[in-house]
Subunit: 343 residues, 2 copies
Amino acid sequence: MPRKSRKLGPIRLTEVAKLAGVSPITASRFFRNPEALSVSKRERVESAAKELGYVPNLAARALASQRTEVIGVLIPSLTNNVFNDVLRGIYDASEGSRYTIQFVNTRYSILQEEKLLRLFQAQKPAGLIVTGINQTEESRAVMQAMNCPIVQIMETGPDPVDMMVGFSHYDAAFAAVSHLLQQGRKRIGFIGARMDPRVQRRLEGYRDAMKAASLFDPNLILTTPTPTAMTLGGTLLADLLAKAPDLDAVFCINDDLALGVLFECQRRGIAIPEKLAIIGFNDMEFMASAVPSLSSVRTNRYEMGRDAVTMLVEAVEGRRPAKPVVDLGFELMIRESSAPRNG
Amino acid sequence: MPRKSRKLGPIRLTEVAKLAGVSPITASRFFRNPEALSVSKRERVESAAKELGYVPNLAARALASQRTEVIGVLIPSLTNNVFNDVLRGIYDASEGSRYTIQFVNTRYSILQEEKLLRLFQAQKPAGLIVTGINQTEESRAVMQAMNCPIVQIMETGPDPVDMMVGFSHYDAAFAAVSHLLQQGRKRIGFIGARMDPRVQRRLEGYRDAMKAASLFDPNLILTTPTPTAMTLGGTLLADLLAKAPDLDAVFCINDDLALGVLFECQRRGIAIPEKLAIIGFNDMEFMASAVPSLSSVRTNRYEMGRDAVTMLVEAVEGRRPAKPVVDLGFELMIRESSAPRNG
DNA sequence: CCGCCAAAAGACAGCGCTACCATTTTCTTG
DNA sequence: CAAGAAAATGGTAGCGCTGTCTTTTGGCGG
């Protein structure tokens, strides 16, 4: 006898079935597809399960059925508040479904991402959410082999692995810079930190907008691989001002930097927007309440997370979306910090 | 024959064992406790596993061993940035271990918490992290029955379910208000939102500090059950000023509200700290860079998450901590916003 | 009242791994 | 060098559930 005799542990499906007077397999079906049972048996199983306080053993279910009800989520950072909103959307959407979220942090490393992807592969998740479109060849191969729906989030691009929900960072940055140009600004700086692929694309948008206006000047660009932080905004503005004292606007690749820039300006007595216009990116809540209120590019982060889960759930259940790539767009939120000079 | 013949799916332990020329159970041991194998077998299993690209099937492992390597985390909110930092600590600490984090959101509802706790119970987690000390009787009973180490985080209190990592919100608030009193402030307002149990305890700390100075006045207190937000800070300040026009300081239960208050003051031309002193709570990064810089109470959120996981892992492995309740304390960060009036 | 068909219920084996114990091998030591 | 202890390894069964197929049941027309 290899194991101790039956311990009195948690209630098993067999016990429920016995109490309900049905076979275990019928009880099993009750939990997966109650419609398949006759009304009488359905009620009996239901009350038996309630009476015993039965909770299915997920490990056994996963082993027997060869699949799980887990949605794997790969996100590059928890420090960056942007992903906080995305996660909120993901968790909110998952609560209505029967799927569980399993979240992992790639730390902006595509090799770490590859490793984690392999780990997920072994768990046979029901679906996968990955950030961005810059996966390694190997990662793409693993994803393709996984045989589950996959959504790439945060940006759109050509050649989706499966599905996508995002927006064009290039277009968003182009629009933000174009707005500053329309306000008559000419010496528009670019302040960027961390410089992940999406930030790189924002830089391209900035560059092309400036070139289109024949105002491009590499001295107006200041970037650092350092992770973003509010204090960094102040430091970077100081450095940029040293390189380009005639700066009359800044495009910050996120709102933390923008607020840091605002504070630095207050410290130095630089009038916003008269001397310097500021525009941020993402439109976090504080942008609207700052004094002066700060312009930004609103991105639909919560919706991205939420829609990714929705698409995944639909796809798992066989209802693949009409178009696999969803562009959630962006919106310019023009506020005091980029008002016309004489406004 | 109930199933199709052996499909060519993922590599199983048996395959690895065969290639290594050992029994499956020996191969199994390699993955759980390599020390138990002789060096020669260890090397053979290792290379066989690598060659075949073996990844253990976690569902089978969980089913056979009757336990998982999951740490369940119950946290009340993803919107509140405080928990972002805690989660970071949790995830960072878990990466060094073999445990996986399974996070769920209780939405500040103790009934939801109870429900989620039951769900976790069925999954037999290796450990559990729960927020706060205000669980239902039923929840406590479930936890006690779970037979796994449990850490309550975010605050300390009497009667831990098992272990605790946190600090005294009462003491922290008391200290913050005492500081304002020492600066000669007499009409110190309290601005609070959401009013979860921990915020309630901060209110008590405020109340007792004011009473001790014989300066308590209920008109100085303004709270709302609304979730916290930066704009809310401004609104609440406006309302409080209507009730108590002679206000000379505010204690905000978090930094978002404090920044909102600062912005509202800038809008109204209220001089900080001359007319009004401000102190927040948590010491988020932006507090130091604001102009004027904002005082706050530093709390060790990241460390709380990190230490909770560390304690859990230690406990699972039989090394229970010397003292089950860890007080991480707090630190008053005094900055310009609560400097003396003539400073 | 029979036969037919669809729907409902059940039988059975096995998913991939590990607990438990038995057995073999290696190491100590008088 | 024998004998006992300790370490390393293996055999077997089963964790709790579900996929597949088979059997039973019930409804209905003739």
